[in-house]
Symmetry: D2
Subunit: 333 residues, 4 copies
């Protein structure tokens, strides 16, 4: 069986993570080569994992006839252009989220991909998380009944630097975008209305940069279900990632993962672990599994589990949330 | 020490519950007599608990010079008028919630009480619940830091008959009113904006009666904190009463109470108890404790822990929530 | 319906507790009178609860023709003699545990009771605890299957004064006796062999007094099941009262009860409540329910739920445990 | 940096597991070659992982000058002889547990290893489990205080075939041996007395084969602490692996690991996951980590974390437990 040859564009935190996942967990794929705007990053990863080729530029990867598929792990502002070029070069694409901060460019990627007939998977890794995928499984199996209310809690252990707000597009496009995708994934339905109740309660510098750091976002779905996401850029106890779905037959509740299941009972109370530290720890399993699914989709010509449309929808909802804060009212999609 | 003599107006479910609480748990009070529009109800309770006097009418209670204080446990539409008469008669007042469905009449009660110089306590029993009062204690002790987000989940095991919707003023005035009071109690701050995202997903008859049965209600507080309440008139697993407060130092989470702490581990999974069945089971302790506090406030001339203003505020927020659904936008208070 | 008239012998901690339970929770009983070796104790309880008669001596209670049943809540060394006299006087008997520290005197009580044809209930209140009775219910319902292993954890928040060891008969007769009864209750079978692995690890003074404060006690039951009890006179986190039963269909696990179900998530971890402080808090519900059952057994002429034989068996097992420590080997019964 | 070259003897379930762990998780080691009594097993693993050499016999591995260390993953009865030969050949040794069923042969291995000056690590992987090593860490940090009571629950999802009992040496040498090692690891002290209360309650065929399937084993440690292990060959809800340590400052409790942290609240109760299925799932992380430690010990000339003495001690305790059942009394070591 011929292995799928992959080229990785971007050797930063997420690019090197995917490189390791593929090397150790995806026997049907092979990393042909890697590149990075900082070539030393690419060399370091290549050396550690025994990757054959180091490219000086992503265009070399797209030109390499031995490469079947690319992972786009570069900075967000380059995603869409690279993806469009990759499609034209006939490469299958795994693109980190968000595809772009504007719906127009996301649509352009979708169009390019469709025209070229290549696969596109967007990096909504949380759909593959063991807890959340189990909740989705319960919904699909009819165990929960008709979905009525979806609740997502998503809090970070630390806020990003305030200057990051401008680059990232703000909290809704950077952080909540995962939750918007999760909400639509669980609802099995698109969002039709957003009302974002947001504030700057963690770091005033974030507010000065024009962003928010705390929010309760109310959602309506096309299915009739309703939802709510609560975000905070900083929780003293760490990375809080929970989901709850109420349906006519019951409710599924996904709690946090922890380093251990050890509890200490002492004079000060009964103490158990804080959640796993941050997304690398919490979602490592999902990063692995999304890569397995991507390779499987390409090799066996199946639909990818997270599509360009998913990428587009989450950007549309995030932009509506920003608008809702700016205008102080619910926004219909 | 002279005991506080109490007259009870209304011998239904909640009136007889208070009668028992006082008899068995409040040694500094004595139930002098009881009345009910259905006199047989009053007789039954009086016989069971050894209550001295049975009145044919609430006006007899107000006229009885031996009665120091009254509990108003009659139907909601009679609360305000009786309370105003009671104040004029110089009786201290414990009034079940809501005081009235209109802010004007609640204000009239407050005015009458102030003029007469009597005590008024409104039956927001949940403030006395062991879990929720512990959360409030953590806030007061500074353990949670500055309050950022308040989340309340409140779901019933069964919806009321659809025809009840009209009488009760609808879900927000009947059910969520407790949650509005809890939200302001925990925030230590008034609500300044309400956006109610509501639907009829449990029983179409409730919708036909002009009411909703499922809601996610987004709140802004004067303090700058934000909040959310999610309600459903029917949860398959029973009475779901949870609260969560996120602050700068951490989060307090109040889970449900259960009949036992026994878990069964078997082939089908690890199974533990559903929540206590409904409000009588779940809040019995709080019903007792609010009565202890009322008697203490009267006997020792202290402020009552839940005032007419609390009663007024919760009605104002509930009416704003109704308006928000009708107009499809956030309502400022 | 005539009420059962009860006389209470002993107005200390447990006697006054039962007096309150009956007054407030057992409508079919009436406390006719009370006595105590310290008459002021009796007066205090009588005044607080409105009890009609104060007796100067327990013999006056036994001579009072208006008294139907007695509660023996005096010091352990007087239980058996009073019980025998009470039986001769034709009074039904609720006797606190242990009936006596010697099997001979327990047997003498059983004989006297049988001869007189009166009821005898022994105060093994834990059988009525909501958690443990739920576990027993699962066994009876066949949910757990055939019982294979019974595990009981029983730890106190504080050790008694070392001088108490001699008076009480030592840890096995004073503290573990409850666990021995619970083990046989859950097994539905008598103990046939005991091996006690005990040490003095909490307070050397307890060891100097000839007693132990920490133990793992291995049990064989006539049914073929096996069991283990672990005890400690002091747990830093408080009163630890857990039970676990493994059967062919699964395992039931009873965890501790706590003051609240509130968890605090902060920088130091996820912290929840310690167990309820001590036996008065933890077992209040069971003290109430055993009294309801006793009155029901007498009034409706039913068998009492905990008999003299139960009292005898637990003493026999406790003495075997003491012997096992002394001889360093398992003891057969 | 030169990598440690490893030869693997035995390509069954545990040998292939270690092969994968080293390939994917131990960058400082390289698998030079593999063998198995069934050569097809060795070929399959070698092909899947790209292992260079396939040996027809373990003696070829010992003769290969390129091999620095061996993993002995063959059948238990061959462990000791191969280990002695490997020591003579100057190879460092990782040996699966038990080293042998007789203390004499375990001692012979220790002597050979000492004489040759090679490293020996015994496969007590559970010491590396995230939960249990966290409990050990709390003990080492003084958080628990002086250790008083150690409790280990260890139950399998399914019994082995009855005929396996003879080959394996019986439950104590095959299954409980892990728990004996864990008990001594946590106590930081050797076992001085064992009393095993055992029965055949799962499968009569196990009893006919002369073995037991259910046990409560009482332990005394040289430190003065006491302990208890409860075992069952079959729990309806699966693989139950818990540990509890009580000390003067509190208690640490390690609960089971589960596939997800999702709970379903429905009409039948609140249902969460059963434990991870069996030892491969439950202890995968510990299998990885013990291999990292072994390679580190050899490469950096550190003591191995689990030694031949640990292997010897656990066998001695297991044999004492067998003797205790046979003689019906506690056995001193």
């Amino acid at each position: 069986m011929k292995k799928l040859n992959i080229g990785i564009i971007g050797a930063g935190r997420i690019g090197s993570l995917h490189a390791k996942s593929i090397t150790y967990n995806v026997p049907s794929a092979n990393i042909k080569g890697i590149t990075d705007v900082n070539i030393d990053n690419a060399k370091k990863v290549a050396f550690e994992l025994g990757i054959e080729r180091i490219y000086s530029d992503y265009k070399e990867i797209l030109a390499d006839p031995d490469v079947d598929a690319v992972l786009i792990c570069s900075s967000t502002d380059t995603h869409a252009d690279i993806a469009i070029e990759a499609a034209k070069a006939g490469k299958h694409i795994f693109c980190e989220k968000p595809v772009d901060l504007t719906p127009e460019k996301v649509q352009a990627v979708i169009d390019a991909v469709n025209k070229a007939g290549v696969k596109l998977q967007v990096g909504f890794n949380r759909r593959f998380d063991h807890n959340f995928s189990a909740v989705k499984g319960m919904i699909n199996d009819g165990k929960i009944g008709d979905v009525q209310v979806i609740k997502i809690t998503s809090r970070d252990p630390l806020p990003p630097p305030a200057e990051y707000s401008a680059v990232s597009g703000g909290m809704f496009l950077d952080m909540t975008i995962h939750d918007f995708d999760m909400a639509m994934f669980l609802a099995g339905s698109e969002v039709t209305e957003v009302y974002a109740n947001a504030a700057c309660l963690v770091d005033p510098a974030i507010g000065h940069a024009g962003d928010v750091d705390t929010a309760v976002i109310s959602l309506k779905f096309a299915s009739g279900a309703i939802g709510v996401i609560d975000n905070c850029r900083k929780a003293a106890y760490g990375y809080d990632q929970r989901v709850e779905v109420l349906g006519t037959k019951g409710a599924a509740v996904a709690s946090n993962d922890t380093p251990t299941n050890v509890t200490f009972m002492g004079e000060d109370g009964v103490i158990s672990d804080k959640p796993l530290y941050f997304f690398l720890e919490r979602y490592m399993q999902s990063f692995r599994d999304e890569m397995v699914e991507f390779v499987d989709a390409v090799v066996n010509d199946k639909p990818t589990p997270t599509t360009g449309i998913d990428g587009l929808n989450s950007v549309l909802v995030a932009l509506a949330a920003k608008k809702s804060v700016a205008e102080g009212k619910p926004i219909c999609l």
